[in-house]
């Protein structure tokens, strides 16, 4: 059970990381927020932290050889979900940058 929870958190954290990374780009920031320019440095720092946390959670759940694969694939899946949300439902990403109204 603890492993599943840890994996779910790893995926969630990976998704947050990729979402912040995407929103650090002008064009995507403007899809989600009215204000013109994104706080690039803050968003990328947050992304780096979230992606690292995701890796640590993967390592905690599985043997390192498997954990690395899970992490890489979870990041790919997250990037795809973020891209699809930005294409069809960009406003759904608002909550991840709730502080920057």
């Amino acid at each position: 059970m603890a492993e599943w929870l840890s994996l779910a958190l790893a995926v969630g954290s990976g998704f947050l990381g990729m979402a912040w990374l995407a929103l650090s780009l002008n064009v995507h920031w403007q899809q989600v927020r009215a204000r013109a320019l994104p706080p690039v440095k803050t968003l990328r720092a947050l992304a780096a932290v979230a992606l690292s946390v995701s890796l640590l959670l993967c390592l905690w759940a599985d043997h390192p050889s498997i954990a690395v694969l899970v992490w890489v694939m979870a990041i790919s899946g997250s990037a795809l979900s973020v891209a699809m949300l930005l294409a069809w439902r960009p406003r759904w990403l608002k909550p991840v940058v709730v502080w920057a109204c």
Partner: protein, 555 residues
């Protein structure tokens, strides 16, 4: 033309990608299905729908099975050709083995037999069986495991067995895949800036390129490592130095290695009875537990069975890590004492095991299995959108009309046609009578015939209309939906395993999961067909208006 480096890379990416893309499409799709090969086997062989089993007793069950085995007729035929003469009536077995994973209800057992007077010292003939390890019943030879015996080999050999040509074609395709990835990254102008960009509202040419870039880049590590590890798995075939130019030193090395481990390299030629292998399995498990890695037996191999020099090798199933078996313990078959316990692998061996293991994925990790399916399907999307971009870009140029028509027809065949063929083999599996001779051959014939039909259909219905796909795409989507739903219905009718039963009352995920995947595919195919129809109608209206305007202008 081709003045800059980037232009030459674009040329390379376009044309090599196009030609080998048709092969790669099949490799990626059937590779993706192979992630769930054991589950597809359960769907296709209803008599094997029971829980996975551990390695059975050797002493009470496997010993008799192995003793009754023989090399297969086609193997013997091939061996006769290789040595250019007759074989003795009874061949001497050189090895017996059994392999199982955490997903196998049935057990695969295999035997190797020595070929007298061989030209190649490694020459031997094979026999294999599949059995129900609970009772020792042997599955009929003619039952096709569609997942592990048809889709899985299709993805690396295309079932072209002549001189292993199919495996060579796939190898070239994998190499070109690596080239396409590198050249693709070079020609992509805004790799990071457009990493998350997909604009479905734009013209087909633009949105298909978006999707091509997106699916290629987000899963780049997956695409790269799978193409690479696929090549390393078949390195023995692509670069067979050990079996061609270096036969003598390799043989000497193997002998030296065996001697250093205390494992007899040659049989003694004297018969001797085998000790209890079950006791050896218990001992091996005890040793793994002492090393802090308790586990189950994954692979069992008896070398020189029945001989005084016989030994038994027992390997741990790699369910909890990437390398699929390991920690081998070798026993003297006659006395039952341990001859050699393998140390942890060296760095190079470890990397090789990692690359092979991550590709063959015999580990127990369901989330990763699903992520692999996602990676594989992203690869398919990348290739398919590549085809669509290629044709869309050239549709306006009338000089390219024939090329566009052919590429479009081949793309339809490679994408939707492949799915139609897949649906067809599943329907055939449920419809063909059980007692039909060569049933497994018929199932495969249906698959290839259906695929050929989709090519004919694509050529017949192909039409180049800028901005919308040819009607062949839409019509084959209808066929996919119909076949997928029919397969699920037939599974219910012929076995009684409907989804309410397999999900709720008598849960059996392998079959339930595959039925659900078929229904999901049908839903996606239907939605795609409707969307394509809407676009075709809109395009037809525009075309009609343009014609009217032209006529009005002419007066």
């Amino acid at each position: 033309m081709l003045q800059t480096f980037r232009q030459s890379m674009a040329w390379l990416h376009t044309w090599f990608g196009l030609v080998l893309g048709f092969v790669l499409m099949a490799v990626f799709f059937f590779g993706s299905l192979s992630v769930f090969d054991r589950e597809i086997d359960r769907w296709a062989l209803p008599e094997t729908r029971f829980e996975p089993q551990p390695m059975p007793s050797y002493d009470n069950l496997l010993a008799d099975i192995f003793a009754g085995m023989e090399a297969e007729e086609e193997e013997l035929e091939a061996a006769r050709k290789r040595i250019g003469g007759e074989l003795p009536a009874q061949l001497q077995p050189t090895g017996w083995g059994a392999y199982t994973t955490h997903r196998d209800p049935v057990l695969d057992v295999f035997a190797e037999y020595s070929v007298p007077n061989p030209k190649d010292p490694f020459d031997h003939a094979h026999g294999h069986l599949t059995l129900d390890p609970r009772i020792g019943a042997i599955l009929p030879h003619d039952s096709l495991k569609i997942g592990s015996e048809f889709f899985y080999p299709l993805h690396y050999s295309l079932h072209i067995e002549w001189k292993q040509l199919g495996t060579w074609i796939v190898g070239v395709a994998a190499l070109i895949m690596l080239v396409a990835l590198v050249s693709g990254v070079i020609i992509h102008r805004r790799l990071f800036r457009e990493l998350f960009t997909f604009r479905p509202g734009k013209r087909t040419q633009r949105s298909s390129l978006d999707l091509h870039n997106l699916t290629g880049v987000v899963a780049l590590p997956f695409h790269f490592i799978f193409a690479l590890s696929g090549l390393t798995i078949f390195a023995f075939l692509y670069l067979p130095v050990g079996e061609t130019v270096l036969t003598t030193p390799v043989q000497a090395h193997l002998m030296e290695e065996a001697v250093s481990r205390g494992l007899p390299f040659e049989p003694a030629g004297e018969a001797a009875a085998i000790a209890s292998v079950d006791a050896m399995m218990v001992e091996a498990k005890k040793r793994w537990a002492e090393r802090g890695m308790p586990g189950e037996v994954g692979f069992l191999w008896v070398t020189h069975p029945g001989d005084r020099n016989s030994f038994v090798s027992i390997f741990r199933a790699g369910s909890d890590r990437v390398a699929f078996v390991g920690q081998g313990v070798h026993f003297d078959a006659v006395s039952g004492r341990v001859l050699y316990e393998e140390p942890p692998p060296t760095v190079i061996a470890g990397i090789n095991e990692f690359l092979t293991g991550l590709h063959l994925q015999h580990f127990e990790h369901w989330p990763l299995r699903w992520l692999y399916l996602l990676g594989g399907l992203l690869g398919c999307t990348c290739i398919a959108t590549g085809f669509i971009f290629f044709t869309e870009k050239r549709k306006r140029n009338l000089n390219d009309a024939t090329l566009v028509r052919w590429v479009d027809a081949l793309a339809v065949t490679a994408v939707t046609g492949m799915l139609v063929a897949t649906g067809a083999i599943l329907v055939a599996n449920r419809l063909l009578p059980a007692e039909l001779p060569h049933r497994s051959g018929w199932e495969q014939t249906v698959f290839w015939m259906a695929w050929l039909l989709t090519l004919a259909h694509a050529l017949w219905r192909g039409r180049a209309v800028s901005g919308c796909l040819s009607p062949a795409w839409r019509e084959q989507c209808w066929a996919i939906a119909l076949l997928a739903v029919t397969a699920v219905a037939l599974n219910w009718i012929t076995t009684g395993d409907h989804l309410l039963k397999t999900v709720l009352t008598d849960r059996y995920w392998p079959v339930a999961g595959f039925d659900l995947a078929l229904l999901a595919s049908a839903a996606i195919a239907l939605r795609t067909a409707f969307m394509l129809r809407t676009r075709e109608r809109a395009a037809a209206r525009i075309e009609h208006k343009e014609l009217l305007a032209m006529e009005v202008a002419r007066g």
